[in-house]
C-alpha cells in the first residue's frame, strides 16, 4: 500500500503531497524534511529506493522535480517506480509536455488526476486511456462553467471599451 505521495523540487520545495495513511501535520512536516534530506543529495546512478523508518520510499527524478512514493517494506519497488512513471505520463498527456509550472499553478488538477490513478493507497487504474477519459469528462463540466465566466468578462470588456 502506498502511504503517501510527495512531489518536491530540487530545492526542497513541496509541490504536491497526498497522504493515504493518517499523519498529523507535524509528522508530515517531519517526513518531508527527513525525506528531502535523504533523497535530494543522492547521486543519479544510485538506486531509486531509500529505506525510511521501516518503510521504503521509491523516488524518481524528472527534470527538477522528484516524485516520491512511500510504500510498505514488502511492496515491489520496481512496481512503485512504474506507478510514478504512469502518473507522470498521464500528467504529460493531460498538460501536453508537462512542466513544473503546470504543477505549481494547476496543483488541483494534478490532485484530480492523482485521485483517478491512486485511491486509498492503491493503484486503481492502469489504463492511461481511461484516466484521460474521466479527466476530460470532468473537465468538460469545468469548461462549461468557464465559458459562462468568460462571456461575462467579455461583456464587461465590451462595456468598458
Amino acid at each position: 500500500m502506498i502511504r503517501f505521495v510527495l512531489l518536491i523540487s530540487r530545492q526542497g520545495k513541496v509541490r504536491l503531497t497526498k497522504w493515504y495513511s493518517p499523519y498529523t501535520q507535524k509528522e508530515r512536516l517531519k517526513a518531508i524534511r527527513e525525506l528531502s534530506a535523504l533523497i535530494l543529495p543522492r547521486g543519479p546512478k544510485l538506486c531509486n529506493f531509500v529505506e525510511w523508518k521501516g518503510l521504503k520510499v521509491v523516488y524518481k527524478r524528472y527534470a527538477s522535480l522528484y516524485f516520491c512514493i512511500c510504500v510498505d517494506s514488502e511492496d515491489n519497488e520496481l512496481d512503485g517506480l512504474e506507478v510514478i512513471h504512469h502518473y507522470v505520463q498521464v500528467l504529460d498527456r493531460y498538460f501536453g509536455n508537462v512542466c513544473e509550472l503546470d504543477l505549481i499553478f494547476n496543483f488541483h488538477k494534478a490532485y484530480f488526476i492523482l485521485d483517478e490513478i491512486l485511491i486509498a493507497g492503491e493503484l486503481q487504474e492502469s489504463s492511461k486511456k481511461s484516466v484521460s477519459r474521466v479527466i476530460s469528462a470532468q473537465d468538460t463540466l469545468v469548461e462549461n462553467a468557464k465559458e459562462q465566466a468568460s462571456s461575462l468578462s467579455n461583456m464587461i470588456a465590451q462595456a468598458t471599451k
Binding site: 523540487s9 544510485l46 512504474e82 494547476n106 496543483f107 492503491e122 493503484l123 492502469s126 489504463s127
Partner: protein, 927 residues
C-alpha cells in the same frame, strides 16, 4: 458612467479574465503568491509571506457573501498554504460547506479540499456524511465518483454503516468507473474494520468476473488484503485467478492496459502477489500455478523496467509457494541476472531476491559472492543496507565474525537512530547465537554498547554481565579468570574514551567491582579511583551511581576480607558523603549498607561478600529456622504468638461481623467496603508457605544483588544486634504482611541479574556450555579483532597471489569444506585469474581485495552480458519515445511551441521554476 466606475469595471474584467482564462486557470493573486514564494531568498522570508497570506485569507474568507467562485479560489489557496506545512484549520469549515454546493465544479473542489485537509477522525466529517449520502444517489456518475473518492479518505469505522448500503448498491452501477470506485471504497472499509464488509465476500468475487478489467483489478487489491488476513475462504479462487493471470500474460486484456508493450503488468503483479499467498505451503494450489509462472518467466522481457518488476514478483512468488526445482532454477538465473546488472535498482532487487532464495536453497548464495561483496562496498547506502540484510539472513557460525564486524562498522557510521537500533539488535542476536568464543562476544558487545549506547535494551547488558560472571560454565577456572581479567583490561582501556553511554558504564562498574582486583594486577585504590571517575563524567545518573557504590562496597569488602586496610581517596570520600543526603532512597540505602559492611569484622565480611560469588545459588532457609531463638525469647518476654494468615483472617472476619452486628442499622452499607481488601488474599493464603518463602527469596535476591549476601552467612549476622535492618526484614516476614516489602527497589536494582541467573541458570548454563564446547579454551585464542584484518590480507594474498596463509584462515577453511571449493571455480562471475590459485574462501574475506577485482576481471568475460545490457538500454529509450510519440498525437499542442509559450509567459509573470533553465519536465527524459 463615471470614470472611476469604468476603472473598477475594467479591473474586475481583467481579474475575471485572469481567474477564468488565465494561462494556468488561476487568479492573479494566486500567481502573485506563488511568484513571491518562488522568489523568496530564505525559509524565513517564505514563512513571512505565507503567514501574511494566511492572515489575509482568514480575513477575507469570513467576509459575508463571498461569491462562490471566489470562495473556491480561497480554498485552493488554503490547500496550497497547508501543503507548504502551515495550519489552515480556520478554513476547513468553508471547504466542508463547499461540498454541499450544487455546482459539480465547486463540489469537486470542496471534496478535494476536505480529503486533503481532514483525517478520518476529524470532527467536521459528521457534517459531510449527509452530503456524501445524497451524492452517492446522484444520477450524475461524476458526482458519484467525487463522493466515492471522498468516502475512501474520510469514512471511519463509526460512519461506515451510514454509507455502506448505498455503496454496495453502486457495485452494480452501469458505469465501470463507479463500480471500480465502489470496490475501492469497500476495500478501504475492510482495512478500517474487516467485520463490516465480511458478508460481502461473495459480492467481491462476483466483481472479479466483471467485464471491465479496471473493476477486476480493483477487486484484486481488496482480495490481497483479505487473503493476507485469512487464506482459507479463498482457496477455491486459485483456478480462476490463474486463468485471469493467463489471460493477462497472453495479451488478451484490452490494449489500453498495455504498459511499455507489456500486457497489463500491474494486474500481473497483483495476481502474483495473491498467488504467493494462496500457494504458501499448499502443494495442490501451487501445482496449479507452475504452468502460468513458467509462462511468465519465458515471456517477460528483462530489458524494460516493468518486465523486471514482473520477473522479480515472480521470483517472490516462486520462493513462497511450494517449491518446484525447475522453476527455482529459473528464478536463480533471474536473480543472477539482476545481480550482474549495472543498474543499481536491479542490483537491489537481486539482493532482495537472493535473500528469499537462500531460504530455500542456501547454497545458491555462493555463486554470487563477488556480486554481494560489490554491493556491500557500494557507496550507495540503500544497497549497502540491503546487503547487510542479506548477510544477516545467511549468517552461520563460520562467518559470523566477519559479518558482525561489517555490521558494527556500518552502524558506527550512521546517525539514523531507527536503523542503528535495528542493526545493533541484529548484531546482538547474531552474536548471542553464533559467538565463537566468550571473549569475542564480550568484545562485540562492548563495541555495540559504545556505538549504539542507550539504544540497546537493558537485558543485553545483564546478559553480558552474567556471561562474564559465569565464564565458560565449565570447571576450567583458569580460563574464566583469564576471561575476566581480560574484560577488566578492556574496560579500563575503554574508560579512557570520552562520552560513553550510561549502559556501558554500568556494565563497566559492575565488572570492575566484581573482578577489578581479582587478579591482583590492579590496586584497590586504582580501581576505586576509576569508579569515582566514572561517576564524575555523569553527575546526574542515579542508576549509575548505584552501580558504582555497590562496586566500591565490594572492593572494600574484598580488601578487608583479605586483611588489608582500605584508604579511601578524597574524591571517593566526598562522593560518599554526598550520597548520605541523596534524594534517591536507593542510593541512600546502598551507602548506609556500605558503611555498615565496613564496620564488620573480617570474617563476617568474607562470608557476606565472598569473592566471585555473584552467580552462586543462594539457598534460602524457607522455614526461617534461624529466627527460632529470637521468637522464643520474644515469646518468653510476653509477645503474642504468631498467628498464621488463615487464622488471622478468620478472626478478622469474625471481628468485622461482630462490629457489623454492633453497628446494626448501617450493617449493609458498611459490609462491602470492609470486605473488599480481603478478597485478593485467599488465593495467596492457599499457598501461604510457598508464597512467603517466595517472598523471602525475592527479599534475599535484592540483598544478594546489592551486597551479595549468602544466606548461610546471614544467620549469625542477623541474630546479632548489629545488622539491624537485616533482622527487621526477617521479623517483618514472619509477622508482618507482605505488602510493604521495598518493592520499589527491584526495578532500580542495578545488578539484579542474579534473578535472571536463577531463572534461566540451567538454560544459560547449557547455552554457555554448548557455545564453549565448540570453541577451544581462550588460552589458545588470539585477539580476534586484530587477527581478522591480518587474516583477510592473507586470504586476499592467497586468492590473488600464490602465498597460502592456510594455517590461520580458520573460518575460511570451514567454508571450503562446505563445498565452495567445488563450486567457486565454476561460477560465471569469478575471474579466470584466481582459478589456479587456492579456491576462494569465506566470501566476505575477499572484501579487502575488492579493488583489485575489476583489474583482474576481464571485460570480455562479461562482454555478452554487457552487449545485452546496451541493447536493452537502446530499446528502452526507443520504446519510451514511441510511447511518447503516441502520446503527443493526442496531447493538446505541439511540444516545442507549447513549452516556448509557457516559458515566455512564465518570464512575463516573473516566476522561475525551481528547475531554472529547463522548464520542460520531459525534455531530458524523452529527448
Amino acid at each position: 458612467m463615471s470614470f472611476t466606475t469604468m476603472e473598477q469595471l475594467k479591473t474586475i474584467g481583467r481579474e475575471l479574465a485572469m481567474g477564468s482564462q488565465g494561462v494556468w486557470g488561476s487568479s492573479k493573486e494566486f500567481l502573485e503568491l506563488v511568484k513571491t514564494i518562488g522568489e523568496a531568498k530564505s525559509k524565513a522570508e517564505e514563512e513571512r509571506i505565507v503567514l501574511a497570506e494566511i492572515e489575509s485569507l482568514k480575513r477575507r474568507i469570513q467576509e459575508p457573501d463571498v461569491p462562490r467562485k471566489k470562495m473556491k479560489e480561497y480554498i485552493m489557496r488554503l490547500v496550497y498554504v497547508e501543503m507548504l506545512g502551515h495550519d489552515a484549520s480556520f478554513g476547513y469549515i468553508h471547504a466542508v460547506k463547499m461540498t454541499h454546493d450544487d455546482n459539480l465544479l465547486l463540489k469537486r473542489s470542496g471534496y478535494l479540499a476536505v480529503t486533503l485537509f481532514l483525517n478520518e477522525d476529524h470532527d467536521l466529517i459528521i457534517l459531510i456524511i449527509n452530503t456524501i449520502q445524497k451524492d452517492l444517489k446522484s444520477d450524475n456518475y461524476l458526482v458519484c465518483c467525487a463522493a466515492l473518492t471522498a468516502v475512501c479518505r474520510l469514512i471511519n469505522e463509526e460512519t461506515i454503516p451510514a454509507v455502506l448500503p448505498q455503496i454496495v448498491e453502486l457495485l452494480n452501477h452501469q458505469k465501470e468507473l463507479v463500480r471500480k470506485k465502489a470496490v475501492m471504497a469497500l476495500h478501504r472499509f475492510f482495512q478500517r474494520s474487516p467485520s463490516t464488509v465480511s458478508h460481502l465476500f461473495p459480492a467481491f468475487q462476483e466483481r472479479l468476473c466483471d467485464r471491465d478489467p479496471s473493476v477486476m483489478s480493483a477487486v484484486l487489491c481488496a482480495l490481497y488484503d483479505m487473503i493476507l488476513v485469512n487464506v482459507k475462504p479463498f482457496k477455491h479462487l486459485v483456478a480462476s485467478l490463474v486463468s485471469i493471470l493467463k489471460q493477462a500474460v497472453e495479451h488478451r486484456l484490452p490494449k489500453s492496459y498495455d504498459y511499455h508493450r507489456t500486457p497489463a503488468p500491474f494486474v500481473q503483479i497483483k495476481l502474483l502477489k495473491i498467488l504467493a499467498l494462496l500457494g504458501t505451503g499448499d502443494k495442490a494450489a501451487s501445482e496449479n500455478m507452475f504452468n502460468v509462472l513458467g509462462d511468465i518467466l519465458k515471456r517477460s522481457d528483462s530489458t524494460s523496467n516493468i518486465g523486471n518488476a514482473i520477473l522479480y514478483e515472480c521470483v517472490r512468488t516462486l520462493t513462497s509457494i511450494y517449491t518446484n526445482p525447475r522453476l527455482l532454477q529459473n528464478a536463480a538465473e533471474i536473480t543472477a541476472k539482476f545481480l550482474k546488472s549495472d543498474n543499481h535498482n536491479l542490483k537491489y532487487m537481486g539482493i532482495d531476491a537472493l535473500g528469499r532464495l537462500i531460504k530455500i536453497t542456501p547454497e545458491c548464495a555462493e555463486n554470487h559472492q563477488l556480486a554481494v561483496i560489490d554491493c556491500l562496498e557500494d557507496p550507495d547506502d540503500t544497497l549497502k543496507r540491503k546487503t547487510l540484510d542479506l548477510l544477516y539472513k545467511m549468517t552461520k557460525a563460520n562467518n559470523v565474525e566477519v559479518i558482525v564486524e561489517r555490521m558494527v562498522e556500518y552502524i558506527r557510521n550512521i546517525s539514523d537512530n531507527h536503523y542503528k537500533t535495528e542493526i545493533s539488535s541484529r548484531v546482538i542476536e547474531l552474536a548471542e547465537r553464533y559467538a565463537p568464543s566468550n571473549q569475542w562476544f564480550i568484545q562485540t558487545m562492548n563495541q555495540v554498547f559504545e556505538i549504539a549506547g542507550d539504544l540497546v535494551p537493558q537485558k543485553v547488558a545483564h546478559d553480558l554481565m552474567r556471561l562474564i560472571a559465569e565464564g565458560a560454565g565449565e570447571e576450567d577456572e583458569d580460563a574464566d579468570s583469564h576471561l575476566r581479567s581480560s574484560a577488566v583490561q578492556a574496560y579500563l582501556q575503554i574508560l579512557k574514551e570520552p562520552k560513553l553511554p550510561s549502559i556501558l558504564l554500568q556494565v563497566i562498574s559492575w565488572v570492575l567491582g566484581e573482578y577489578g582486583i581479582a587478579d591482583g594486577s590492579h590496586s584497590a585504590e586504582f580501581i576505586i579511583g576509576k569508579l569515582c571517575d566514572i561517576v564524575a563524567t555523569r553527575p546526574g545518573d542515579d542508576k549509575l551511581k548505584g552501580y558504582v557504590v555497590s562496586a566500591i562496597t565490594k572492593i572494600c569488602a574484598f580488601e578487608k576480607a583479605a586483611g588489608q586496610t582500605v584508604d579511601l581517596i578524597p574524591e571517593c570520600v566526598s562522593f560518599i558523603e554526598e550520597l548520605y543526603a541523596s534524594h534517591s532512597t536507593d542510593l541512600q540505602q546502598r551507602i548506609y549498607e556500605f558503611h555498615a559492611v565496613l564496620k564488620l569484622d573480617r570474617d563476617t565480611i568474607a562470608s557476606i561478600l565472598p569473592m566471585d560469588a555473584s552467580c552462586e545459588d543462594i539457598e534460602v532457609d524457607k522455614d526461617l529456622s534461624f529466627l527460632n531463638s529470637f521468637v522464643e525469647s520474644a515469646l518468653a518476654n510476653g509477645s503474642r504468638p504468631y498467628l498464621s494468615d488463615n487464622e488471622r483472617r478468620g478472626m478478622g472476619a469474625m471481628t468485622t461481623l461482630a462490629s457489623n452486628n454492633d453497628a446494626g442499622t448501617s450493617s449493609l452499607l458498611r459490609f462491602q467496603p470492609y470486605e473488599k481488601p480481603s478478597i485478593p488474599e485467599p488465593a495467596a493464603a492457599l499457598v501461604t508457605a510457598s508464597h512467603y518463602s517466595q517472598d523471602a527469596i525475592d527479599q534475599h535476591d535484592i540483598y544478594s544483588s546489592t551486597i551479595t549476601v549468602s544466606t548461610s552467612s546471614r544467620a549469625p549476622e542477623s541474630s546479632s544486634n548489629d545488622g539491624t535492618r537485616l533482622k527487621l526484614e526477617g521479623v517483618q516476614k514472619k509477622w508482618g504482611r507482605p505488602t510493604y516489602t521495598p518493592e520499589a527497589q527491584v526495578p532500580k536494582n542495578p545488578i539484579n541479574i542474579s534473578d535472571s541467573v536463577k531463572v534461566s541458570s540451567s538454560a544459560a548454563g547449557k547455552e554457555a556450555s554448548s557455545r564453549n564446547s565448540s570453541a577451544p579454551p581462550y588460552t589458545e585464542r588470539k585477539q580476534p579483532s586484530q587477527e581478522i584484518s591480518a587474516e583477510k590480507k592473507k586470504l586476499a594474498a592467497s586468492l590473488f597471489g600464490s602465498k597460502a596463509g592456510e594455517t590461520k584462515a580458520k573460518p575460511a577453511a570451514k567454508l571450503q569444506q562446505n563445498g565452495t571449493s567445488k563450486k567457486a571455480p565454476a561460477k560465471p562471475t569469478s575471474p579466470p585469474a584466481p582459478a589456479p590459485a587456492p579456491p576462494p574462501a569465506d566470501l566476505l574475506d575477499l572484501s579487502d581485495s575488492l579493488p583489485q577485482i575489476p583489474s583482474v576481471d576481464p571485460v570480455d568475460q562479461l562482454a555478452d552480458l554487457i552487449s545485452v545490457d546496451s541493447s536493452a538500454a537502446t530499446s528502452t529509450t526507443s520504446l519510451v519515445e514511441q510511447v511518447l510519440d503516441a502520446g503527443k498525437v493526442a496531447t493538446k499542442g505541439p511540444s516545442p511551441q507549447a513549452s516556448l509559450q509557457k516559458d515566455s509567459v512564465s518570464r512575463q509573470v516573473g516566476v522561475t521554476p525551481s528547475g531554472g533553465t529547463n522548464p520542460d519536465l520531459f525534455k531530458d527524459l524523452f529527448g
